[in-house]
């Protein structure tokens, strides 16, 4: 049983949390990741900073700039991941980011580094199934899950291609838009999750625009998991090197809401 399987098989919805690696500096990310686990997060997404985060709103754009401004490198991100794995042997860790930093030394290199660091899954924003001749196969060969995104524009005809070769969980991007902006209507989320569950044999986690425990609880009534990113990243932006405490508090509130939603 993989860490993902266990995380989604606790008999309750899962809280998936995102922060950007190296934000505000590489040395402070481990404490923030610890705070997410202590707060009750079931899955951790660690953002790989990129100069051109095209799918992200102002909060995560700023986080990327802070991380890169602090000199965060790909090696730093893997170092953070390896340390996390050592400290939290059971919590699934996902690297999320953009294609170029992932493939720049070759997909096989990236997949091998993921495996070495104990990374369970990878979300790559800008490699759709049509262009996935290298990264997906390399990750699978290394025993790392490729977690794909489905969106409101992903119709029934495309969904099988999106699911093909993906594992861990399916990330439903509930709004056509960028991260951290508007929230989708609850009714549209319920309709979409029901549609996705007809095709998906893996858990469905819903994200984009989810900021408060109430919003998260509403989504957790219908989804296997709820993803919160920008609200946590905003706390890191606000509190900087002192962010672990506030991050733990918000995570705890979110986890309580999500875990008791049903």
């Amino acid at each position: 049983m993989s860490r993902f399987d266990r995380a989604f098989a606790k008999g309750r919805p899962a809280l998936v949390t995102f922060v950007t690696g190296g934000d505000p500096m590489p040395e402070t990310t481990p404490a923030i990741l610890d705070a997410l686990v202590e707060g009750g997060a079931d899955v951790i997404e660690l953002g790989m900073p990129f100069t051109d985060p095209m799918a992200d709103g102002p909060a995560i754009q700023a986080a990327n700039l802070r991380a890169l401004g602090a000199g965060t490198t790909t090696a730093d991100v893997f170092h953070i991941a390896a340390r996390f794995r050592e400290k939290h042997p059971d919590v699934p860790l996902v690297l999320m980011g953009y294609a170029n930093p992932m493939v720049t030394r070759g997909s096989d290199w990236f997949a091998a580094e993921c495996r070495k660091a104990g990374v369970d899954g990878v979300i790559c924003v800008d490699i759709p199934p049509e262009e996935d001749a290298e990264l997906g196969p390399a990750l699978r060969a290394a025993g790392v899950s490729l977690i794909r995104l489905a969106t409101p524009t992903t119709d029934e005809a495309r969904l099988p291609a999106v699911l093909e070769g993906s594992s861990g969980f399916l990330y439903y991007v509930s709004v056509a838009g960028i991260t951290g902006m508007q929230q989708a209507a609850q009714a549209s989320i319920e309709e979409a999750v029901a549609r996705l569950k007809k095709h998906a044999t893996i858990p469905v986690a819903v994200g984009f625009g989810v900021r408060t425990p109430d919003q998260a609880a509403a989504i957790a009534k219908v989804a296997d998991g709820v993803v919160v990113g920008s609200a946590l990243v905003d706390l890191v932006g606000e509190h900087g090197t002192e962010a672990a405490g506030p991050v733990r508090d918000l995570t705890r509130a979110l986890a309580n809401a999500v875990h008791s939603a049903r």
Partner: protein, 405 residues
């Protein structure tokens, strides 16, 4: 040059998935993927529709002012004392650059698809002005994303866009230039997929943009080829064009690619020099993925994108269209680069010898012509693309020359 290409054609790219060899493709977020596929289907239908082509041709003739002249430059030729220098005068188009050719084609596609709102990115402002122009012409609302740095250095074009009814949104992310404007346009597009058409200004981005922009811009090369044959009875020996994303260059080159006797030279912006800040992706970059396509990019070891620098806001981009990346790899086109200072010299050279004020973008091509013409015979012909006029640049040129206006 590989045997496969010589045996067939250099003009049959991309493949059905939008790949030019290893380059190009559709590296976009899932939200955009269905849209890109729609656009591809609609473009395929439009290409096969004589009414679409007829409307495009009619607008190019009566609205843009095509065909643009093919001009022999006698005093420049004499001064360089080598090959005859000819210019394709796309700076005489309506709006003052080649960008309008592509905008006409894309807005016709947008209307075929029932889209009611247009967005675009711009660097120098030429593509922004051209987009604002076609939006005014067809009555569609339009938002132009422009780096705040470029807004400052291209004030006349910002005012033009506003006069034409466009909303200009300054982008402050990153270095606040063309790359960042493109990021912001992509963010807007993904949030407005249902009603919005993104008019990309260069032959880059996700498939089918590199192909359709090239096709719309190929009017440059088709006209030039016919004009040169009519005027001289022969083909040119060398084509020269400046390259940022590469749309004017691919537009000139593509119709000649299978003419084996015609050599081609793409000119990148070497900025302060290739060992310093520059925007020459082929000379100083390596393959990577950005803005929907795989191509040569200026990037560090971790794949973080570096900021380009050029005196020309239109060339200030850390990538290049994927077809150029492929043409470099197969060896059909040669690529070189010229510095800011050389481009400024080229700018002044054309003003002085031919009474034409070129934009800083084709000033790079002129600087390359200045280097290569003296090495060629007097019976040889260089055809360079004069892809934009310099009115927009007189303020920044004055600044560089230490003149206060």
């Amino acid at each position: 040059m590989t045997a496969a290409q010589t045996a067939n054609s250099f003009r049959n790219q991309p493949d059905e998935r939008g790949h030019f060899g290893q380059f190009g493709g559709r590296y976009v977020a899932e939200t955009l993927m269905p849209l890109i596929l729609d656009l591809e289907r609609e473009y395929t239908r439009a290409k096969a529709d004589p009414a679409f082509q007829a409307e495009f041709d009619d607008l190019l003739e009566h609205y843009v002012g095509r065909p643009s002249p093919l001009y022999f430059a006698p005093r420049l030729t004499k001064e360089l004392n080598g090959a005859q220098v000819w210019f394709k005068r796309d700076e005489l188009n309506h709006t003052g650059a080649h960008k309008i050719n592509n905008c006409i084609g894309q807005i016709l596609l947008a209307m075929r698809m029932g889209k009611t709102r247009i967005i675009a990115e711009t660097g120098a402002g030429q593509h922004g002005v051209a987009t604002a122009t076609v939006c005014a012409r067809f009555g569609l609302p339009c938002v132009i994303f422009m780096g705040a740095t470029d807004v400052a250095r291209q004030a006349p074009n910002v005012f033009r866009m506003k006069l034409l009814g466009a909303e200009v949104r300054p982008v402050t992310a990153g270095a606040a230039t063309l790359k960042d404007a493109m990021n912001e346009a992509l963010r807007d597009w993904v949030a407005n997929v249902h009603d919005t058409f993104y008019i990309i200004g260069t032959a880059a981005g996700p498939h089918p943009y590199p192909e359709l922009v090239r096709d719309f811009q190929s009017v440059i090369g088709k006209e030039a080829r016919a004009q040169m044959l009519a005027r001289t009875g022969r083909l040119p020996d060398l084509l020269v064009a400046a390259i940022g994303g590469g749309s004017n260059a691919i537009g000139l080159f593509h119709p000649f690619l299978d003419d084996a006797s015609v050599k081609m030279l793409g000119v990148e912006a070497a900025g302060y020099g290739l060992d310093k800040d520059h925007a020459a992706s082929l000379a100083g970059g390596r393959p990577g993925i950005l803005h929907g396509n795989k191509t040569y990019l200026l990037q560090d070891d971790d794949g973080q994108i570096l900021e380009g620098h050029s005196i020309s806001a239109g060339l200030d981009y850390p990538g290049i269209g994927p077809e150029h990346a492929w043409l470099k790899e197969v060896g059909r086109v040669d690529y070189t680069s010229v510095t800011d200072d050389e481009a400024l010299d080229g700018f002044q050279l054309l003003c002085r010898t031919e009474g034409i004020i070129p934009a800083l973008e084709p000033s790079h091509a002129i600087a390359a012509v200045k280097k290569v013409a003296p090495t060629m015979g007097k019976d040889q012909i260089i055809l360079a693309n004069l892809c934009g006029r310099g009115d927009k640049d007189i303020f920044s040129v004055a600044e560089h020359l230490g003149v206060s206006l």
